[in-house]
Symmetry: C2
Subunit: 503 residues, 2 copies
């Protein structure tokens, strides 16, 4: 038995080493690699990915799991052994159920469509990608079929990002959310708009970076086990629990860009840095779902980083960093500016309130496309219609409509978007539970003390890695299953005050 567990650790360690090496190569590709390195880098990544995949699909690993399972279950279903074996089996099955020929065919298709999309979007030419996107829908259905039976064809695709989540339960949550968000956005946008000109001045890059990383460090991002670099599209990545890196981009004429992307990515990184060190080298040493991951980034970015208590305590420091730009701007003007709500066609530029509506429409379209209720050819019109109804905007072009996000043009249709909103819901539910346990948290945030909040998150969410599912974590940490109530309460309270709405 011990020998079997040792063998499992060795096999998982090798798989993890290959994945971590590939992650570093990808990080380098988007931070420091000179352009001349790209062709060879593609080959190197293909080799590392293939070798990692071979390790996961090695029949000897499946046999080893079969041998180990009885003893692991005897150790108790919540034991490290049982949880590890369950997670590894999940990964092995996911890697083996999809034939290598399908994986290769989809990789080729995806490369072709992505390349086509990079030209179709600026050209506003949906017709140029329509037939390839239809093939993506077809291949996404085919992918799901490898995991039949399922309740909904989107379920196996959703499982890739949010294991255990189902289309049906997400739809129910999203319907509730939409029913409140649409009238809330209406009410807010009838009020006087916030003025965000104070964010649109010229801000020197070094000071922007210094302020952002100083706050991220105070939140708990540990720079002895991480670092920050610049890139075009900010992300977080990890090469081990002791080496978790974030990237950001700086726009000299928009202060909010680097600042909130830094706090967002730092939220992701704090999650990874606090996973149980005993899980290192195994698949347990990862986030349990993209939804939970997003809950941590959104919590630090929005519930802390865009909150009034935080800026009551920290706005003077920001003013000191940019005296010429912000010295004469009162706190309440700045606070309104960073929480400006507006109807806009672009998801990535959306505020906290409208954001969910962007995602919900995409999720609904994914379901309808997979179900065959919506044809790809009809997507542009359906998109415009829904944008009018839900967002109150009329996207002038498909480039600002159904061509705007990379996701469907670089992966499956299905499961690509829900994590963003699940994360928002969870962020409010976690924050609410943390404040119930520790009512002093808001004052601490104002005083620049984040240890209570961070420790609550670390012990209730982070430490578990993949040893507990998102459902288990939400329920045990907050005392109830995932719900829209805390998030909607948060929005109503915060934006009610900001925009002078009556309840």
């Amino acid at each position: 038995m011990d020998a079997d567990f040792n063998e499992l650790a060795v096999r998982l360690g090798e798989h993890n080493d290959l994945q971590s090496a590939a992650a570093l190569l990808r990080w380098d590709q988007t931070t420091y690699m000179p352009e001349g390195g790209s062709v060879a880098r593609g080959r190197q990544l293909a080799t590392l990915d293939r070798l990692a995949h071979e390790r996961l699909t090695d029949p000897a690993l499946a046999r080893l799991l079969d041998r180990i399972t009885p003893a692991a279950e005897r150790a108790g279903k919540d034991s490290f052994a049982a949880r590890l074996v369950r997670v590894v089996r999940h990964d092995v099955e996911r890697a083996t159920k999809v034939p290598a020929t399908f994986v290769a065919a989809f990789a080729n298709h995806r490369t072709e469509l992505y390349e086509r999309w990079t030209r179709a979007r600026p050209a506003n030419d949906f017709a140029a990608v329509a037939s390839l996107l239809a093939k993506t829908v077809e291949m996404s259905r085919a992918y799901a079929e490898f995991f039949a039976p399922f309740d909904h064809v989107a379920d196996p695709l959703i499982d890739l990002a949010d294991p255990g989540m189902r289309a049906a339960s997400i739809r129910a949550l999203f319907a509730e959310l939409r029913a409140t968000l649409v009238p809330l956005v209406d009410a807010i946008t009838r009020a006087t708009p916030a003025d965000d000109r104070c964010l649109r001045q010229v801000f020197a890059e070094p000071e922007q970076l210094a302020f952002g990383i100083a706050v991220a460090t105070k939140f708990g991002f540990d720079l002895t086990r991480g670092r920050q670099d610049k890139t075009v599209h900010p992300f977080m990545t990890k090469f081990s629990l002791g080496d978790v890196r974030i990237t950001t981009r700086v726009r000299p004429n928009l202060l909010s860009e680097a600042l909130f992307s830094t706090l967002h990515e730092a939220g992701h990184a704090i999650y990874e840095q606090n996973i149980d060190a005993a899980f290192e080298g195994t698949p347990l040493a990862d986030a349990t779902s993209l939804g939970v991951h997003e809950s941590q980034s959104r919590l630090w970015e929005n519930l802390v980083g865009r909150s009034l208590p935080f800026w009551r305590g920290h706005y003077p420091q920001l003013q000191a960093a940019f005296p010429a730009q912000l010295g004469g701007v009162p706190l309440d003007v700045f606070y309104r500016a960073i929480n400006r709500v507006e109807r806009s066609p672009i998801r990535t530029a959306a505020d906290e309130v409208t954001y969910g509506l962007h995602v919900i429409m995409r999720f609904d379209f994914e379901c309808e496309l997979l179900e065959g209720k919506l044809a790809v050819a009809d997507l542009p019109d359906a998109w415009r219609e829904r944008a009018r109804t839900d967002l109150g905007v009329d996207p002038p072009t498909d480039a600002n409509g159904c061509l705007q996000d990379v996701h469907w043009y670089d992966g499956y249709v299905g499961g690509a978007f829900q994590s963003y909103v699940l994360g928002n819901l969870m962020s409010a539910q976690f924050f609410d539970a943390a404040v119930r346990s520790h009512p002093e948290i808001p004052q601490q945030i104002e005083a620049g003390q984040f240890a209570t909040l961070r420790s609550w998150l670390a012990s209730n969410v982070h430490v578990h890695g993949r040893a507990r599912s998102a459902d288990e974590i939400v329920t045990s940490a907050t005392g109830r299953p995932l719900s829209t109530a805390p998030f909607l309460d948060y929005l109503r309270t915060k934006y009610g005050a900001l925009y002078g709405l009556t309840a």
Copy 2:
């Protein structure tokens, strides 16, 4: 046959991808990795190195080479196929002749000794490492025995760095060199010493880096296929022919440090960037020997970068970068400062003239230790004695004596040092041949035009990668075998003029 060659390309490509990934992990480890990443990074590197080694020692690769060899040789001994097969066979044999148990035992021993040395050197405690170093000597002999028969026990170790070179021929060259260098150093150090205080002022880091990389770029280092970062010990590394990186370190109070280390590493990088692109992904896409590699770094650093023509043309630009520090320093004072010769106990701080004497004594000690003529216990005394005779210095401590270099404490004794001097000899011989072909090169250097020299090096040295041996390259590029004459002529002429020596 085509199928066999395709299989060879695939196998070599995978090996190369793993090696390149490991190289990136090592680069990151010394440039950007946070300290928390080091334990996992060690594991990741061990995995990549092991997987690369497994590919090289796969019996199927040896059988494939056996199948391919007849056809490759029929294609002509100078054909790409024949040269590739020969180089791969050399690598395969070197990887297979040494048992895995020995490799593992030596790796453990080396780690222990290195760790011990990092404490013994500052403590000036040779006794703390003596018995482990004696074991290194023993294991170095054992390593050599795997390649018996040989002319000299050091030959298989020399072959690791300088394939085809032998202890006997190196000894003959080094004896000649020493016979001239010892009296030359005597003569120079009797003359008035150069004053290098102009280099020892305060120089801002950004300007130091900008000037260095601007010159490196003019030399031919292509930043679309490379970059420069900061590190503690400067080096060059490569992840593909399109991604060749250098590192440097900056000392704010010593201008020569970053500048000449940048030119040195850029020389290495220019070599790699000009290897035949058709060799990419195979073992031919590497430098043919460390000696030839060092010849390229030394050529750009010393024969160009410390030359009077170069500074006649470029000193005004350096003065413009540092007007307060150098505005009042005449060219001849600066030129003498960067070419100051002095007796010193430390190899890495040595000038062009004394440098060889440091290396020759190490090479001789390596041979004597391997032959059993010198006991490790007697090394400190032997070192002091030889430092007095050859260098005219009395190292005050072993820390400044036989403990100073990492090489023997982190690898084999034998073959560790000769490349440095072989590189110096070759640098002068290549430069001399290039100027014979293109007598306009010195004027071009003064005018900031380096294309003629670079092209000559690229087509005579770089392009061949490992497809030609160092011997072949030297002979075909310069019309004669490696000799001490061009280097000694260069030193006599340059330093004769600098120090007013009579011939």
